[in-house]
């Protein structure tokens, strides 16, 4: 493998039901930053059927090129045809960096493709930058420049590791949704569109999809919310979430919850914040009656402002909160809602 042949930053632009996923734009945003450090460009790769219409939006969010692999076998995600298509893209276009979202699709596609093209893959990255490997010069070891340094939590968020892939290309990472920032939309910005049609061969590894069953749609995605009012076991009952609904409503926010609440059957899983739920970074995160186990804080500690209300002054949530209030949520939350109503009405 000649490493120098590999140029450019590529991202897998995930679409589901012919709608681009939010992670596609987040990856374009991050790729843009990496590409300007490397003096190269950003390619978004879209796989699917009848997807020509998706190129424009990727251009407006910062992609310089959009490669479309349009094939009936790619209509609904299945590992094998998607892996064939993405591996064919990598072998043909040779990007030096290939980013994939750490979604239920990407965490299946990424490892399959990286093994197929025989390179490394770093999972669930929360930070990516260009730098040297090893980080410091070491005697007897060649220090390589312009490497992708991929940082990820492990051990349920207890540790953090920075990983490089110095001798193989592309450097591949899956990136946790909700962590990277998308760029502002630039209307009229155009990407060069390339139609690429690799052969997709049916083999023993194809599976049949018998049925697609969508969950009952939740009205909002907590990952898009600017203000989250999140409740834990301390709320006490599903009925008592009413006081959080009221607070969220007055602030134009959304209610989310901890794992304990989902396990108790009080709220659906798509409202769960944390290691096994979603990673969120709203402007304001209210943690109400949430003790703040590390699995929870791993999913919300990047929020701009964290306000915690808990009656237990030793609760670990206070270790990550900007503003912690030790007290009775049943008294504070309804009074806060009323006070905010009055404040906002006075404006």
């Amino acid at each position: 493998m000649s490493l120098e042949e590999y140029k450019g930053v590529a991202i897998f632009a995930q679409q589901v039901d012919n709608k681009l996923s939010s992670i596609a734009f987040e990856l374009v945003g991050k790729a843009h930053e990496l590409a300007s450090d490397l003096g190269t460009d950003v390619t978004a790769v879209v796989l699917g059927k009848d997807i020509a219409g998706l190129a424009e939006e990727l251009g407006e969010y910062g992609a310089d090129k959009v490669v479309l692999i349009d094939n009936p076998e790619l209509e609904t995600y299945r590992t094998e045809p998607y892996a064939q298509a993405l591996a064919a893209y990598i072998n043909e276009y040779k990007p030096e960096i290939m980013l994939v979202g750490a979604t239920a699709i990407g965490r299946d596609l990424g490892p399959t493709v990286s093994a197929r093209v025989q390179t490394g893959l770093t999972a669930d990255c929360t930070s990516l930058e260009i730098g040297d490997f090893p980080l410091q010069p070491k005697e007897g070891v060649e220090q390589k420049h312009n490497q992708l340094l991929m940082t990820r939590p492990a051990f349920g968020g207890n540790t953090i590791a920075t990983i490089a892939c110095p001798d193989n290309r592309p450097q591949m990472a899956t990136v946790r949704p909700g962590v990277m920032q998308k760029l502002p939309k630039e209307a009229g910005r155009k990407a060069e569109v390339i139609n690429f049609n690799p052969e997709i061969k049916v083999n023993n590894r194809f599976v049949d999809i018998l049925n697609v069953v969508k969950n009952v749609a939740t009205t909002v995605d907590i990952m898009d919310a600017k203000i989250l009012v999140s409740g834990g076991r301390g709320i006490g009952s599903p009925e008592n979430f009413k006081i959080l609904d009221d607070l969220a409503e007055v602030l134009g926010g959304t209610v989310s919850c901890s794992r304990a609440v989902v396990d108790a059957g009080w709220k659906p899983k798509d409202l769960q914040v944390g290691q096994t739920g979603k990673t969120v970074r709203p402007n304001v995160y209210f943690a109400i009656g949430i003790s703040g186990a590390i699995q929870h804080t791993a999913g919300m500690e990047e929020s701009d402002i964290i306000i915690a209300i808990n009656k237990d002054e030793t609760a670990p949530i206070f270790d990550v909160a900007d503003y912690g209030i030790v007290g009775d949520l049943n008294k504070i939350v309804p009074a806060l809602t009323e006070a905010l109503k009055a404040e906002l009405a006075a404006k």
């Binding site: 239920a104 399959t112 093994a115 540790t159 193989n168 049949d208 602030l251 007290g327």
Partner: protein, 260 residues
């Protein structure tokens, strides 16, 4: 039907985390349990054994002390256990690990391979699909439910907002979610028998079709640049006020930060 379940002994994250000087994990210094997703995979295999009949083999790559976990699997009802252990395999990333385990599986008969979705130490979810890739098997990740019908499996494959009901021909590989089931306990008789059973131990030399360039730390394309305990942003202010003062305090902060 032959089912092979790949299981991993993982440090219990509650026991604290320790590193070797080279930045890799010091697994020997931490408490060890069977990884939860893998245990669900084993339970799924044992249920298939109960319902349609199967020979269940558990395989792990790890330190010699993983013997404890293999005997737990035998006590739950697995028929055979294989430990792949060798210093030369240490420090492996997911590429080197999956290459090694795939080579181990080539020594076994299997119709179905089950792995956990991900281990609680690395959280990568990569080794299962990569084993399938090395062996040329169909892979179905994130299984919530597994059924066998003739020569096929029918699996509920979880996504964020939906599931797919997917049918694959065996042999194939499935990665299991902890939500799949509630694993059984070991039985007293099973525990007794498990300590009489032989655990097969393979070294690197027992693994065929495996290039030395693809094993251990040296055979890992990803390299650790640095590893550390997570640096957290420090705790902010903490106040204990009466409810009225608490409300004033929060409203004040929201104003100060221009939220309202």
């Amino acid at each position: 039907m032959n089912i092979v379940v790949c299981i991993k002994q993982v440090p219990d994250t509650k026991g604290g985390v320790k590193f070797n000087p080279d930045g890799t994990l010091d697994r020997a210094a931490m408490l060890a349990i069977m990884n939860p997703d893998d245990k669900a995979g084993l339970e799924a295999a044992l249920r298939l054994k109960d319902s349609v009949g199967a020979h269940v083999t558990v395989v792990t790559m790890g330190l010699p002390k993983a013997d404890d976990m293999l005997r737990e699997a035998l006590a739950m009802g697995a028929d055979e256990a294989v430990l792949i252990t060798d210093r030369r395999l240490g420090g492996a990333d997911t590429w080197a690990t999956s290459s090694t385990i795939a080579a181990g599986l080539r020594n076994l008969d299997y119709d179905l391979v089950i792995t956990g979705r991900q281990a609680i130490d690395g959280d990568t979810a990569q080794v299962g699909p990569q084993i399938a890739e090395h062996l040329g098997l169909p892979v179905i990740s994130y299984a919530e439910d597994i059924k066998v019908e003739g020569n096929s499996v029918i699996v509920k494959r979880q996504y964020e907002d939906r599931y797919h009901e997917v049918k694959a021909q065996m042999p194939c590989l499935i990665t299991a979610l902890a939500e799949l089931n509630e694993p059984r306990y070991m039985t007293p008789g099973g525990i007794f028998d498990a300590f009489d059973k032989e655990v097969t131990v393979w070294s690197r030399d027992d693994l065929k079709d495996l290039d030395d360039a693809n094993i251990g730390l040296a055979g890992s394309p990803t390299k650790i640049a640095k590893a550390s305990d997570k640096v957290r942003k420090g705790a902010g202010e903490k106040v204990a006020l009466d409810p009225k003062e608490s409300v004033d305090y929060i409203v004040g902060k929201l104003k100060e930060k221009h939220v309202i």
